[in-house]
Symmetry: C2
Subunit: 389 residues, 2 copies
């Protein structure tokens, strides 16, 4: 049956669906037909939420904590997040600067809505997480993708910010570590980027959702640079709470009323069960569980990067964190989309083509997520070896 | 300490904070100082989520269901919602037309983003739920508030839609029952509104979040009018799941891919714990609990409306549903904001001034929510009697 409908919004043309979703659907169909598929396309840790965190939610729900919270989150959760910065990073962040949000997605929407007007331009690295571009578009702002390559770790640099800043540019959004690359921008580079952004009257937003997943060192937060830097973070990745949809913003104190009224209107409040769960996420016993998971992710990376190189992939910007490898597949194929399809069909290994993350060199790269146990990773490498021989 | 910051977005000027939040904060401060306050300002049922719904979430969380779901929600939840329309309303809605969303807020954002471009005008009733206006603004669309009065139940009519439709008008958003009024638009009036909207190539969006809370009759859904009507609904009100942040859209089938890609980008997915809880919300035992709560709300309304009239309030458009009374206070005060403040301070009763919902007659009305037990309502009426004598 076909029905006649009015026109849809023009903005839909500018928003592409994730190609990875089509790959995932394809992989699921193959699985339903009996094929074994190893999922290296999914940007989500395979571990469940730690038990004490789940049990904190269970206890709260059974106590009847099922109503709205304040729009910026439970005051005790804002305090816990502030304390986390003090204890883990030696940073003094007032709880009033923390806004608990519906995922990092919710945080990014609120921050962009507060900082950028329609027509304002925001610089982002290409490749980068595609939602960030689309958030800007949703609000009528213009994401300006800056092509980056392995020589800068696929990240913005002070020079790139300088060169691409235009008359309508109002800010920079940077992910540290980055997705799809897991590469890190040093605090020194961030400091210089901030100086240039501030010098032009713009805003620096730093997406730190993988911040606690930098391996082998304590990576400083961009918050160390000053109160004017806006940080987006999440309980999804290090805290293993993806499905709960909970994140936070750290804001300059004067922005609290603006973000509060935006949050009241756009979300009412972040999910209550998730907030009660998250209160337990900072408990000492939980930190041990999370750090053990982090060690497991690191071991996977340490296995996977050389194994992929041995197969013939080039990894010119090896990941320092997150759970992704951005691998140059140009030795095997001219087009990463066709290559990803071939790996799925011939090897039963699902990966994400670079084209999900932008256009700079995107047809030469695939993102491989190490979000499966190491035994499965080894099996994936064996299968790739067979398919690429 | 003051810090220098870049400019904020201009859209913030057009978005007002809820006055009710200031009243709530004021009320909490009075309570902290030992005063007894009766809260008739809160748009949230006082009942906790039914136990079987909570326990469904508990079981799912303990099974490790803590990951992302598909962007439009768990397929079995989309099916349950479709079945609800079939069983309760005799409507045949394909599950593919249901999008599970992060609250009705998330649904409204997705629907408006898909249907309206920057500069497009959307007609809404004044008074009305303020977030609806602000969503439109967030996306660059123009909410056009149409002044309404008690003679139309504070709702849009076919004639008002006709009269206020302009060259840039692209749609109508209508809440049925309405907030702050609890008044209902008949299916016949909706049918005529739809015909006029369709005749001009526009979209009709109907917010039915209070749809199951129409007392004493089965109110038909606007979905009965045709597949082109877009409906926003929620688990918050009738299903008593406010804090979980879960709602849904019913869309024309051809919109599914557009809403899917918007949802992937803007939200990733609705909260997983809430979705597993909601699967139990349609179970027969739960329906009995919910209908008992609904009977309690109705009894409160049946007590409150004549009691307020006896005090001297005029209620020219009595509520057929939801849990609000929109009461004319002009006999007592010229300005509902000052009146609300006086009631809070002198009677310890918190209500919401009409100015939270628009400007048409707003200074003559207050919204009184019957979201406290009947004994407390009676105490509130006694206190008002004392203060207004």
């Amino acid at each position: 049956m076909s029905i006649s409908l009015p026109e849809l919004a023009g903005r839909l043309d500018a928003i592409e669906p994730f190609r990875v979703m089509a790959i995932l659907a394809r992989a699921r169909a193959l699985e339903a037909a009996g094929r074994s598929i190893i999922h290296l396309e999914i940007g989500e840790p395979d571990f469940p939420t730690p038990e004490p965190v789940v049990e904190a939610a269970v206890a709260a729900l059974r106590r009847g904590e099922t109503h709205y919270t304040p729009a910026l989150g439970l005051p005790e959760l804002r305090q816990s997040i502030a304390r986390h910065y003090a204890e883990r990073h030696g940073l003094d962040i007032a709880p009033g600067r923390i806004a608990v949000t519906t995922g990092a997605s919710g945080g990014l929407l609120l921050a962009m809505a507060a900082l950028f007007d329609p027509g304002d331009e925001v610089l982002l690295a290409d490749p980068g997480y595609p939602c960030n571009r689309h958030f800007a578009r949703l609000l009528g702002a213009e994401p300006k993708a800056v092509p980056t390559g392995p020589e800068t770790g696929f990240q913005l640099t002070p020079g790139l910010v300088e060169r691409h800043w235009g008359p309508r540019t109002r800010g920079v959004l940077l992910a540290n570590p980055g997705n799809p690359t897991g590469t890190v921008v040093s605090l020194q580079a961030l400091r210089e980027i901030r100086a240039r952004v501030r010098g032009r009257g713009g805003w620096l937003l730093v997406d730190e959702i993988y911040h606690e997943l930098v391996y082998g060192r304590d990576e400083p937060s961009a918050l160390a640079l000053g109160e004017d830097v806006v940080v987006v973070n999440s309980f999804s990745k290090y805290f293993l709470m993806t499905g709960w949809r909970l994140g936070w913003l750290v804001l300059p104190q004067p922005l609290e009323p603006a973000i509060d009224k935006l949050a009241q209107n756009a979300f009412l409040a972040p999910p209550t069960p998730a907030q009660h769960a998250a209160l337990a996420a900072f408990a000492p016993g939980v930190r041990e569980i999370l750090d053990a998971r982090k060690a497991e992710l690191r071991a996977r990376r340490d296995y996977l990067v050389p194994a992929l190189e041995a197969l013939g992939f080039r990894i010119p910007a090896p990941p320092a964190g997150a759970f992704y490898v951005y691998a140059d597949c140009s030795r095997f194929a001219e087009d990463s989309e066709a290559f990803a399809e071939r790996l799925l069909l011939e090897a039963g290994v699902a990966v994400t083509p670079g084209t999900d993350f932008g256009s700079a060199g995107a047809r030469s790269y695939v993102r491989i997520a190490y979000t499966v146990p190491e035994a499965e990773l080894r099996e994936a490498v064996r299968r790739l070896e067979g398919a690429l021989a």
